[in-house]
């Protein structure tokens, strides 16, 4: 049985839901994005990283997510495993996207597209992927402090990227987090509880 015509997004992707469930938001986003896309085209764009083959992500989606990963997780400055060279953050997102129901996957694509092309005067209507490091970070922070729709979308994309970085065990020593311990500590399994007394 299909229990939801709109397949539920994972919680961390919840901010994409308004894209599907609120027609007026979709229209607003698409209109704004189309306008900005034109501006962005005129302003030029970076080439997408093409070396990695993705199962689900399209090259332009991978480009946006890779850039967002670089902006959100500048790990080289903090002595953490690289978010692009060591931890396969975007590949992890790709694996997750490959498991999504079609409609959820479509929504993710729409969210990434809108995020990259969201019109903002203060950024001269540039696409996110064409912004410098400082400007790109400022863009992310501006989205987070924006109206509810922008907050939701930004929270979703941040969670998608950061979750797929921090879930990698190689990142945990940097947090002094030990991860799974039962085996390490030799904790014995108790098995099923015995039947209660009559």
């Amino acid at each position: 049985m299909k229990n939801n015509k709109h397949p539920a997004l994972p919680g961390f992707m919840a901010g994409l839901e308004p894209l599907s469930r609120r027609g007026f938001l979709r229209a607003t986003a698409l209109t704004g994005a189309a306008f900005t896309a034109g501006c962005a085209h005129l302003m030029g764009r970076r080439d997408a990283p093409q070396a990695i083959q993705y199962r689900s992500l399209q090259p332009d989606e991978a480009e946006v997510l890779t850039r967002l990963t670089e902006v959100l997780l500048p790990t080289q400055s903090m002595g953490l495993p690289s978010s692009t060279q060591v931890v396969p953050t975007v590949q992890n997102i790709d694996a997750m996207a490959a498991r999504m129901p079609d409609q959820t996957r479509d929504l993710l694509g729409l969210g990434i597209w809108v995020f990259d092309r969201r019109p903002m005067v203060s950024f001269k209507f540039s696409r996110f992927t064409s912004l410098s490091d400082d400007k790109a970070l400022a863009y992310v922070n501006a989205m987070q402090d924006g109206p509810f729709f922008e907050r939701g979308l930004m929270t979703t994309l941040k969670a998608l990227v950061t979750l797929n970085y921090w879930r990698d065990e190689r990142t945990w020593p940097g947090l002094e987090y030990s991860g799974p311990v039962s085996e390490l500590w030799g904790i014995r399994r108790l098995g099923n509880a015995p039947l209660p007394r009559a």
């Binding site: 229990n3 994972p10 919840a14 129901p101 969670a159 039962s182 099923n192």
Partner: protein
């Protein structure tokens, strides 16, 4: 007298792959049983055990997958993908409140924080009076709580179960002269790993997976996973079975359709799924209340950063409980800091270096979950046909509920500042933090109610209830005082849906006491309910 032996480990479960490989079943088959129980969580497992022990033929149908505890990894990210409802994606219609629940054999008991709390006597005496449920007065329901408490090793946390995170809450409370208590939990010989939310691999959490389900199986109950009940079948106004669909949990492939013929049907799929099944079944409903009156118990996670390393993620997940405001304001504040992945659901996780600094301070954090009361205005709805329709969960805070969420978070922040926190991260979609108690209110005032309170506080719900509320009047309540629905004979409800009004307590213990009560009522009426 025959000996009854509980398996040492695991539960015998028929999974989608077993059905797919069994040529004798085919794509469409029918089973017969005395009792079909829908859902294998806190309530369903208990009912299955009680029915099987009484000699009934019992079939348990669980929509989620079977994930045996021997395979638990203590890795929260992986667990969320496998056995959390909709991969932690069950949300309200505006997608800013997450309804967290387990979708597996054992239900939410597998991934819960083990908190067991008995509401005050006034709650049940109130039910007796307001909803004409004298059978559930404080005096009458107490034996059911006692029985469940004994079966599940409910105990008050001892000193070694109060970790550094909880100690900060205690320090804050004592400075502010707030009452606090060690939490009560259903754990046997807790190994203090802190991985409750990823399931307990050493079987110390007394979830249904290691208690009522294997006990039910020992008495002959059969359990099917990957089996979602589409609707309840009726004949002449009486429930006589269910129709279900079996789906492979990995590929999503439709494996088979199942029909179950049963003398009685017990719905125990939780406060969201149970009313949806009833709505899909188009059952008689004189009350018009199926799916309505949903209490959400919204909670936010407040983080305090302390000057010294706490490693607050080590030890028992939930140590203490602030009960100062429970009776007066309906706030519950429970200590707890889970895996790093949980920080990403706390509030705004920042960006760039600020994000990395936020995460690298993990060992300095203490956390609490601040629950507030809501008024039971939420509802769940099934639209469309039973197979291709759509579930929606409707709840956004009204102004009063929004203020309650804000106040409970503010109290939690104050407790942390009194306990020595140098900073508190606020549970908001906006990026907000307070570096002293003196700018806390100013920061919180930046959170504006806006449009329906959307995308303001990052609220979650772990304990929705009340969607098939229980009471005597068939024009106001879905379920009667014995647990049988007013509209359909032979159809019982035994889960959190029954709770007739907003409850200010983690509901698991209450739910299991109610399931015990409903089981007893069914067994008392066995002569008239069972053809066999």
């Amino acid at each position: 007298m025959a000996f009854v032996t509980v398996a040492r480990d695991g539960v015998p479960v028929t999974q989608a792959r077993d059905v797919a490989l069994d040529a004798t079943l085919g794509k469409n088959f029918t089973l017969k049983t005395d009792v079909v129980v829908v859902g294998s969580g806190a309530a369903g497992a208990l009912v299955a055990y009680e029915m099987a022990k009484a000699g009934r033929d019992v079939l348990v149908l669980e929509a989620g997958r079977y994930y045996p505890s021997a395979q638990f990894t203590e890795h929260l990210g992986d667990t969320m993908t496998k056995i959390y409802q909709d991969q932690v994606g069950q949300v309200n219609t505006t997608a800013d409140v997450i309804f967290v629940g387990g979708a597996c054999v054992g239900g939410s008991t597998v991934i819960g924080g083990c908190v067991m709390q008995q509401p005050s006597d006034a709650v049940f005496d109130g039910w007796a009076k307001r909803h004409e449920l004298p059978q559930l007065s404080a005096e009458n329901i107490k034996p059911y709580f006692d029985k469940v408490g004994e079966q599940l090793h409910v105990h008050t946390n001892e000193a070694h179960e109060i970790n550094a995170c909880a100690h900060k809450v205690i320090q804050g409370c004592e400075k502010m002269k707030f009452s606090w208590k060690p939490a009560q939990r259903n754990v046997k010989q807790c190994a203090l790993t802190g991985h409750c939310l990823a399931g307990c691999p050493s079987d110390r959490k007394m979830s249904s997976l290691v208690t009522h389900l294997p006990w039910a199986a020992a008495y002959g109950a059969r359990v099917f996973s990957d089996t979602e009940v589409v609707r309840v079948l009726t004949r002449n106004g009486r429930a006589n079975g269910v129709e279900a669909r079996i789906t492979d949990p990995d590929s999503g492939a439709h494996v088979a359709d199942m029909r179950v013929d049963a003398d009685i049907v017990v719905l125990a799929a939780g406060a969201i799924q149970t009313p949806l099944i009833m709505q899909r079944s188009q059952l008689k409903d004189t009350s018009g209340q199926i799916g309505r009156n949903m209490t959400v118990q919204p909670f936010t996670q407040v983080l305090g950063k302390f000057p010294e390393p706490l490693y607050g993620f080590r030890g028992a997940l939930v140590g203490v409980y602030v009960d100062e405001f429970t009776e007066t304001d309906g706030y519950m504040i429970l200590s707890g800091l889970a895996e790093p992945e949980s920080l990403l659901a706390q509030g705004d996780m920042r960006a760039g270096k600020a994000h990395l600094e936020f995460m690298k301070d993990y060992k300095y954090y203490a956390g609490v979950n601040a629950f507030s009361v809501d008024s039971g205005r939420g509802y769940v709805q099934w639209d469309g046909d039973p197979y291709n329709g759509d579930k929606t969960i409707h709840w956004n805070p009204n102004h009063e509920e929004f203020e309650n969420i804000k106040r409970s978070a503010a109290l939690a922040a104050r407790i942390f500042f009194s306990g020595g926190a140098e900073k508190v991260f606020l549970p908001t979609f906006q990026s907000l933090e307070a570096d002293s108690v003196f700018n806390l209110d100013a920061q919180l005032d930046k959170v504006d109610y806006g449009l329906k309170g959307m995308y303001t506080f990052r609220a979650n719900s772990f304990s929705p209830h009340g969607t098939c509320r229980m009471g005597a009047d068939p024009y106001q309540y879905v379920v009667g005082p014995n647990g049988e629905t007013h509209g359909t004979a032979g159809l019982f409800v035994a889960d959190a849906s029954l709770i007739p009004e907003p409850l200010v307590a983690p509901p698991q213990w209450t739910v299991q006491a109610l399931a015990q009560y409903v089981s007893d009522r069914i067994n008392q009426r066995a002569d008239s309910l069972f053809l066999s």
